[in-house]
Every structure is written in C-alpha cells, then in structure tokens.
C-alpha cells in the first residue's frame, strides 16, 4: 500500500522533550501544559499516513458482521458524510454542523453494542471523535437516590464518555417512573450536555424496538435531537447459523453434519416459541448453545484416552442436546 505521506513538517517536541525544556528553565509549567495539549491533538501528531486505510480496515470489520444490511448502509453514509464535510472544510466551504446522536432499536443480542464500538473507531479515524471509546451505561449508572445526585451521576458518565460515545442501554427506563422520578433529571442533564458539547460526544440511546418508539413518542424533544435511527432486526435462522459457523471457526471447533442440523432445529424452535421469541433472534442464544456444546464435548472426551485432533475439534449432536 503506498504511504500517502504529507510533506514532513517541523517535528513537534515529544512530551519528554517538553519536560526537558521545563527543567532547563526555558519554559514555564503553564507553557509546558499548553505544548502538551497541542501535542495531543490529532493534527499535531507525526505526519501520519492518511487515515483512510484505517477506516477501510474498520469498514471491512463491519462488513464481516453477518446480516445488518440497513445498518451497514447507514454507517457507510455517515462515514462518507463525515469525510466530505472534512474535505469541504479544508476547501473553506461551509460545512454542515454534524449532529450524530443516534437511536439504536432492536432486541438484545442483535449487534447494537458491536456496531457502536465500530462506529466509535470509524469516527475516531475520521477525526470526529477524539478517542472513539464507548461507555456503556444503564439507568442505575445515571439515576441517583436523592435530589441532585442524578445530575451528578449523569455528568460523571458524560465526562467518562467525552471524546467518545455514551451508549445508554434500555434508555426508556429513564422515563419509567413518571414526572417525580429522578430519571427525568437524567434526561434533562443529557439534553443539556448535548447542546453544550455538540462536538466531542455522541449519544446513543438503545433498546427494544417497541419501547424505544414509545419513549421517543412521549419525549418529542428527544426525537429531533437524535436524527439517526438504526434498526437492528432479529437475525434470520440462516444468519444465526452463519454466526455460529463464524464463532466455531474462531474457536477452532466444528459441528458434524447432524449437529449442524440439530442446531438449526433448536434455533427454529426457539423462534417459534412465543415465550422466547424476543430473544431467539439474537446471537447470544447461538453463543450460549455453542459454548455449552464445547463444555459438554469436553466432559464427554475427558474420560477417553487417545484423542485425535479431529475429535478434539468436533461437536456432535449429543453435545447440543437438552437444557442446562
């Protein structure tokens, strides 16, 4: 890959060189911090290869996820928009202020957190977020027990997420207790932070489809502040089996033909059962089945003497049968 190097610029001093200047009495502590801050800003870093290859790499990681067609398209759109806005800004054109707060709707285990992590990385590489880390929180992390506690807790989480993404799971639970509930205070603090820190923080509200729609309906102010909505549909049986294959490959296991059929049957059963349907479309079910299969296989094999490499890798129907 050709390195797309910019012409070398005067190398900024390293953090350690700044300290030497301080020790020699050439700069004051005040100036030392100012230099460090300039050093830590991405544009002051070494004349690095253009960030594009990194973004492509992460995009490939995203594409490698099973299913999620609409989500992938939207993430590509966001990335394209971000990079064009940056190019426009370089040309001195008016660049649209980007509001990238998002709503993720879908059942547990449909890839919401995974996509949030990848988005964080993409936005860091594109220079939108300074760090791109994801801070995952839920109601208990935001809502306090007495007046004033909630705003304090919420601000704390906001601060942890600064430069990255604050991912609020089951966000509707903030509106659970009605007007007297401290959840309201958490929402207000979040909204205020969104106005104040448009640039260095992205909020993602996540949760079940139905509950999220109700939550946004009841809080019209929030709706307009979260322009991007991503739906995470349940995985189809075929997609779940593809995920299973991927998981097995990574762990260097495989299913024999009958075990594979059995896994498919099992997933379909869960899907048909109205009591488990909400959780059946998710990768977690598959992972649990496979991890249990790996444990069962181990207890089946541990008593035996000579084992071939093949036996050590293969999961048979008996390993997948029954419940825990």
């Amino acid at each position: 890959m050709p390195l797309n190097r910019r012409p070398p610029v005067a190398k900024p001093p390293s953090p350690e060189q700044v300290l030497e200047l301080l020790e020699r009495g050439e700069i004051s502590p005040t100036e030392a911090f100012a230099l460090w801050r300039r050093l830590d800003r991405p544009e002051a870093l070494e004349p690095a290869p253009s960030p594009a290859p990194r973004v492509e790499e992460i995009m490939r990681e995203l594409d490698a996820l099973v299913g999620l067609g609409q989500v992938k398209r939207l993430v590509r759109e966001i990335q394209a928009f971000v990079s064009i806005q940056a190019r426009r800004a370089r040309e001195g054109l008016v660049s649209e202020p980007m509001v990238l707060h998002m709503i993720f709707r879908g059942n547990p285990g449909t890839g919401k957190t995974t996509v949030a992590r990848l988005l964080g990385k993409i936005l860091r590489e594109s220079g939108v977020l300074e760090k791109g880390h994801v801070v995952e929180v839920e109601r208990a992390d935001l809502v306090g027990e007495y007046i004033g506690h909630t705003a304090q807790k919420t601000r704390e989480q906001l601060r942890r997420a600064l430069g990255g993404i604050l991912f609020i799971d089951e966000a509707y639970s903030l509106a659970r207790g009605g007007d007297k509930d401290f959840g309201r205070e958490a929402i207000d603090t979040l909204v205020k932070a969104m106005e104040d820190q448009k640039r260095d923080l992205i909020l993602i509200l996540a949760g079940y489809q139905r509950e999220m729609s109700g939550f946004l309906h009841a809080n019209p102010g929030l709706r307009s502040r979260f322009p991007l909505h991503l739906d995470f549909p349940d995985y189809t049986v075929e997609e779940l089996l593809a995920i299973a294959d991927l998981m097995l490959r990574q762990r260097q296991y495989r299913l024999d033909a009958e075990a594979r059929r059995q896994l498919a049957r099992r997933v379909e059963e869960e899907r048909a059962n109205p009591f488990t349907a909400d959780n059946s479309g998710n990768a977690r079910l598959v992972r649990n089945l496979i991890e249990r299969g790996m444990r069962r296989q181990a207890s089946r094999l541990v008593e035996e003497g000579d084992l071939t490499r093949d036996q050590l890798m293969t999961i048979v129907p008996a390993d997948l049968e029954g419940d825990d």
């Binding site: 300290l19 301080l22 700069i27 502590p29 005040t30 911090f33 460090w36 601000r155």
Partner: protein, 193 residues
Amino acid sequence: MRECLIIGKPNAGKTLFFLNFAQYLGLRHLWLAAGGPSLPLDRARRELVDDRPHRTLDLNRVVVRVPAGKGRKSTVLTDTAGLGDDINADPAIRQAMARTLRAIREAELILHLVDVAALPGSVSAPGPVDREVAAFARHRGGYAVLANKMDLPEARDGLSRLGEVLPGEPVIPISARLGTGFPRVRAFVRRWL
C-alpha cells in the same frame, strides 16, 4: 494499583491535604520518598508542612484503602511538588515540577487543589497554570478541583471567583486543615477505583 495524584500551585495546601486525607482513610504512619524510618502522621505534619511555598520537592506516596462495595480497594495517594505559573529560578524546583508533570501524564485520578482563600496576586492564587492543568487533565480519567482553605473567611469570595479561572469544572469545597469535604472527596475517589 491506581494512582491518585494531588496537584496544585505552591502553597495550595497539597501536603496538609495529603497527610490529613490519608489519616481520614485510616493511615497512621508514612515512609517518605527521601528514605528514613517511618514517620507518625502528626510528626509528618510538623516536619513537612508550613507556610513557605515549594516545601515539597519529592513525590511522596502512601497506599490507602478506600471502602468500595463490600470490601476495600487500595490506591496510591501521591503528593507532588507545586506548579507555579512562571519559570522558577531554582533548578531543583524546576526538576521537581518536571517530576510532577510526568506523574500527571500517567495518573488515572487527579485531585487538583486550589487555594480559594489566597489574595489575588499571591503565589498560590488560582492562575494560568491552574487553567492549563484543568484543560489538560479533564479528559483523562478522573479529575476534580478541590477548593481548599474553606475554613478561612476569604474563601467564600474566592470560591465564587473560581468560576472565572476554571469555568465548568466540578468543584468540591474542602478544608484540608479541618477535614471538611473529605467524605465527598472519598466518594469521588471511590467512583474511579
């Protein structure tokens, strides 16, 4: 183990806070970075603390245990040399400041002491270096401003003026001498362990 760093301008009260807060968390003796036998805290207070600036030049560390959940978690509490706004004429003090800066770069948790009772223009009055420290530290893990010397009458005005120097930072008012505000500091530290 995580390190909790106490920083601030000379004479902001860092060492007295270091000793009294460590005592509040249950510590009775400490060993100094310079060596020597263990020192009971009341003697340490007599020997390490007075009202001259730049008394502390070494990074003095103690391990303290903070209640967390059902058990307790250990953290290193570190006292540092004060940071002035300007270039200091004494090479030993400049070296000490460089040590402080190096520690700031690595710390997970920073308690930034400011002297809100200082008269404007005095050596410990909140100034440019406080602003720079805050701008540098606020994005790195835990960071809180402790408005010290609240036991002095001048502190009320000083606290209200602090917003001009450090707008938007979370501030915990304390008195290192009397131990007021320590429960809030402990709660803050605990959250970051």
